[in-house]
Symmetry: C2
Subunit: 262 residues, 2 copies
Amino acid sequence: MKSESQSAIPENASPLVRRLGRTVLLTSEEVDYLETMQVNQAAISKGDEFIRDGEPLRATFLVRRGWVIRYKITPAGRRLIIGVSLPGDFIGLHVNFNHTSLYSVAALTNASLALIEPVRVLEIHRRFPVLASGLDWMTVRHSNILSEHKVSLGARTAAQRILHFLLELWIRLEQVGLATAKGFELELTQEQIGDCMGLSTVHVNRSLSRLTKEKLVHIGKGMVSFPETSRAISFADFDERFLVEFSTDSNNGGINQRFTKT
Amino acid sequence: MKSESQSAIPENASPLVRRLGRTVLLTSEEVDYLETMQVNQAAISKGDEFIRDGEPLRATFLVRRGWVIRYKITPAGRRLIIGVSLPGDFIGLHVNFNHTSLYSVAALTNASLALIEPVRVLEIHRRFPVLASGLDWMTVRHSNILSEHKVSLGARTAAQRILHFLLELWIRLEQVGLATAKGFELELTQEQIGDCMGLSTVHVNRSLSRLTKEKLVHIGKGMVSFPETSRAISFADFDERFLVEFSTDSNNGGINQRFTKT
DNA sequence: CGTATATTTGATATCCTTCAAGGACGGTGG
DNA sequence: CCACCGTCCTTGAAGGATATCAAATATACG
């Protein structure tokens, strides 16, 4: 499935460049722009809440290393994690629209972020139509993930939700080179999984132990794997189309004309 | 809140133009482009499923009149409505990325849609940066709605979810001139509300009757109103920021420089 | 009018939450 | 090296929220 040979992506490319490089063919000028855009970096410690719901958003963030969550706290005191941002994911790409953050953001692990000035995003749209298209693509994928989460919370059992979510993380991490066919390292506690999927910690625990008992997932030393992947996929009703990274459609004209083909 | 005097928006403008006109100042060339883009129209009958999950997406659709739902059916036979598309909303704006539809789409009422060729969307990005910015904005708003739904399904009680959803519809309809301070006409059955909010029909019914008993909402002859709006808003934990239409941020340079101000 | 569709109500079952407490595990300091 | 402590995982028991099944009533529509 991978086809990165055509483009000029260096070994030490950032997760963002690797991500976009799988989607569109990048010129070296574009690669340079993306990398220099990330020079302003910040190290965030595990647990730090660095954006707060309602506060003004001054910049777009890009995760370079570590796991980050976006969440809301309801007046009743429940936390709901809207999504997990992994390396290569933007946070607040919409900074030019919503000037105040609609959610809080915190680091689950020690993390490294790039701070990107809003004007950069506008500049990409003006000067690099192919990159702009890539950003749009990431935004759409973001929506797809949210839709799938809504389906999970609304129409799947606890065990299905959890397994679906773990499969999603696996694919997403694999897409940035942080997981292999063997599995991935999970940086979430059961409580956090519950907050992602709208379940109590206790219920996550019981559902997970049923899943592992049924060999639908294996968790050991923080490593998650799926001993019988196809059984897991069908049990969780997992349709990976919502995470695919590039279009094979040949009708693309204009902006997308440089999309890679399979 | 409305400030449409500056721009040249005709009386009989389409919902799309009215929507975007509230967000950015449109030139008459832009208005013309948006209107001619919609010449290819289709009438859809109530109940018609006109896009099916998994089938290729040939065009972007724009709702001009009527209510439309996007939904998924799980293997277990449950339907989950991902979202309701109202006049002025796009469906499949991402057609240039996902070449197959990730959900089914059906008309809740008789509806009128514009069929927009994918190349038009690309053309907007090339030729009309301000309009492109408006489309991006609509995409972001779309995500915001999905996030809020995820919070509802994951962390709010049945009654809160339903009321939150009704308030959302009210605001969204008001923004395209289809609702007033008095309320709006609801085109959803209780079953459909349940499919939107991940609840059974019976439970929607009981929660709704509790809500009406408590005067948090009033439903009569299909008209929905909120006798004590502020009580409803606080009960439902409704924060309308996720639906606001324009930025008051003055830091916008570049593409957004023509955003209207309060 | 009559039939289909939508709403309402009751009774029961299930899923999931909450509360409570015990156990495992890793890190830290003596 | 071991005792201590915090965090996470695990398990039990009970209660609450929501689903399901079933049937009656109301409403819309041809």
